[in-house]
């Protein structure tokens, strides 16, 4: 059961996070903060028109939040802003909807992100997996200047 949460691909991204570090050409950014655990992430974007041409992240967090941020950067590089929003909705559904015990319909759009389906069984960890995504959305909606987005209202 614990292996559902810590799949190899998640452990790999935790060990070697992709697109980790400052993004020199960034023109949007936002920070995410989980006050419950103190995890922090900063997501930086280069947006060209309606297209995200580069994504980077920095910060410290658990394996779930680090791997989620890392895989998000890969997934969204080259995506349009609309595609990113739609991907967030799909990802969020994956983490929160339905009975975790049932096989979910394959969502081809999600691709590798489906490894996070196991997080559903651990409600306390859903916010770890969505932290970077919330920061990304804040950066896209130009809320990045308003201070960090928080997982707790």
């Amino acid at each position: 059961m614990i292996e559902d949460l810590y799949q190899d691909i998640i452990l790999d991204h935790n060990r070697n996070p992709r697109n980790f570090g400052p993004l020199a050409q960034a023109n949007r950014s936002a920070r995410g903060y989980n006050p419950l655990c103190g995890d922090k992430v900063e997501v930086q974007l280069q947006v060209d028109g309606d297209r995200i041409t580069a994504v980077g992240f920095q910060g410290s967090g658990c394996a779930i939040s680090t791997a989620s941020a890392s895989m998000m950067t890969q997934k969204l590089t080259g995506a349009t802003i609309d595609e990113a929003e739609s991907m967030f909705a799909r990802f969020h559904d994956l983490l929160t909807e339905g009975d975790a015990g049932e096989a979910q319909e394959d969502d081809e759009e999600l691709g590798e992100l489906e490894v996070f389906a196991g997080v559903r069984r651990f409600p306390m960890r859903v916010k770890c997996a969505t932290l970077a995504w919330h920061a990304l959305r804040a950066a896209l909606s130009d809320q990045g200047e308003e201070g960090p987005v928080k997982t707790e209202a």
Partner: protein
């Protein structure tokens, strides 16, 4: 009041772990199909049958509101509530029961002192002195009070091992210092602070001392007279009692000088629209219907602890902690956070390259309950250069099997994170 003795006549018992565990029904339940190893006692302790039965008896046979009715049940309930106050007084060795103010918990007790004792006298440039290892509940009330008055909150440093630098603390006490507020036992590191020494040095400069005893009360004998402090705060739910009840002990002459901090029923002498006069302490500080059953439950919890022969419990806990420290030190990749000279109750650690939340989730599935995170001590985490720790904290019902379960679960953590590494 009598010196600190137990209420009932008991013959000293040897430490009997099975018997104690039998008193805590929750310990026999399984978690994720495993025997529960509950090592999160610094967050809250489980409740013995005696406490729950006391609540049931009170609600089923004696319950009414206190301090007002002339009817039979009101008198019984008032008696039970005031007996609980006297019981708590004996637990901390107060000079008199009137020095015990019931609150919702240690947090509310500290807020009461901040609002009612500190704030009225706090002027611009005055100072409140705390330490780096304080829980947020002994930081934020002072920040609020200082902000309102334009006063300054100063913070005494700690060593890398997590010990208070008491000489530095003393050197920070000056003409402007209005209060020293310090934790007795650190909830994150287990550091036991030398309260009597701190009180002696603060008093030599005429400065009163508040002690946050939330983590000390379950582990150490509390004697406010020999500690020499001026206020002592602790929570019921960390000493095997109910939630929502806590205690502020304060020197009577100080309580007498303090104005009320909340207004309402039960705390007044007489009310008219022109002028209201307030009752004497402790009632002045207990506006509204108090947590009557909480006080009764707390009293039962203190009876339970005292009947156990607390010395044998403490010896057992200390031995278990020493044993766990040794085993954690020998575990590859585990780093202890803090090495205080005197420790009780708590061990914080990290694992190389593994975030504490991941440790927490994995050991949970092995039936081991520990706390992971900043433990409401973010400034302390910053000082130690970590964002979070894993924390195992011990209670009267923990045994070697709980430590075995923890160590085995940590092996599992390593094996999961070691894959392909």
């Amino acid at each position: 009041m009598n010196p600190k003795t137990t209420d009932r006549k008991t013959t000293p018992l040897r430490f009997d772990l099975d018997r104690i565990r039998g008193d805590f029904p929750i310990l026999s339940r399984e978690v994720h199909g495993r025997r529960l190893a509950y090592l999160d006692n610094a967050a809250s302790t489980q409740k013995p049958r005696a406490v729950v039965e006391a609540l049931e008896n009170f609600y089923f046979s004696e319950y009414s509101n206190v301090h007002r009715g002339v009817h039979y049940l009101s008198q019984r309930a008032t008696e039970a509530f005031e007996n609980a106050r006297a019981r708590v007084g004996r637990f901390v060795n107060a000079e008199r029961a009137e020095e015990i103010v019931f609150t919702r918990g240690a947090t509310e007790a500290i807020n009461l002192v901040a609002r009612s004792f500190a704030a009225p006298h706090l002027g611009p440039d005055d100072e409140i002195l705390i330490t780096t290892m304080e829980h947020h509940s002994n930081i934020v009330p002072w920040q609020l009070a200082c902000e309102a008055a334009g006063a300054r909150l100063r913070v005494a440093p700690i060593s890398d091992d997590g010990d208070l630098e008491i000489d530095r603390l003393e050197s920070m006490i000056g003409d402007k210092t209005r209060l020293v507020s310090v934790v007795h036992v650190s909830n994150s590191l287990g550091t036991v602070n030398p309260i009597a020494e701190i009180a002696r040095r603060a008093h030599s400069r005429g400065v009163p001392v508040l002690v946050d005893g939330a983590q000390a009360a379950p582990h150490l004998p509390i004697d406010v007279q020999s500690l020499g402090c001026d206020f002592y705060a602790f929570s019921g739910h960390k000493v095997y009692g109910p939630t929502g009840i806590g205690v502020l002990w304060g020197r009577h002459e100080l309580l007498e000088q303090m104005p009320p901090w909340q207004g309402g029923g039960d705390m007044i002498e007489s009310v008219s629209f022109e002028k209201t006069t307030y009752r004497e302490p402790p009632f002045r500080f207990e506006a509204g219907t108090p947590n009557i059953s909480g006080a009764v439950g707390l009293s039962a919890a203190l009876d339970y602890i005292d009947e156990l022969n607390i010395e044998s419990v403490r010896a057992h806990e200390a031995e278990l902690i020493d044993d766990t420290l040794l085993r954690l030190e020998q575990t590859e990749g585990v780093h202890l956070i803090g090495r205080p000279a005197r420790r009780c109750g708590v061990i914080s650690f990290n694992m190389e390259g593994i975030h504490p939340h991941d440790i927490g989730s994995i050991v949970d599935l092995e039936g081991v309950a520990i706390r992971t995170g900043h433990h409401c001590t973010q400034p302390l985490m910053d000082r130690l250069g970590v964002t979070a720790t894993a924390r195992a904290s011990f209670g009267i019902y923990n045994g070697r099997d709980d430590v075995d379960a923890l160590l085995n679960a940590l092996d599992k953590v390593r094996s999961i994170f070691g894959k392909g590494g």
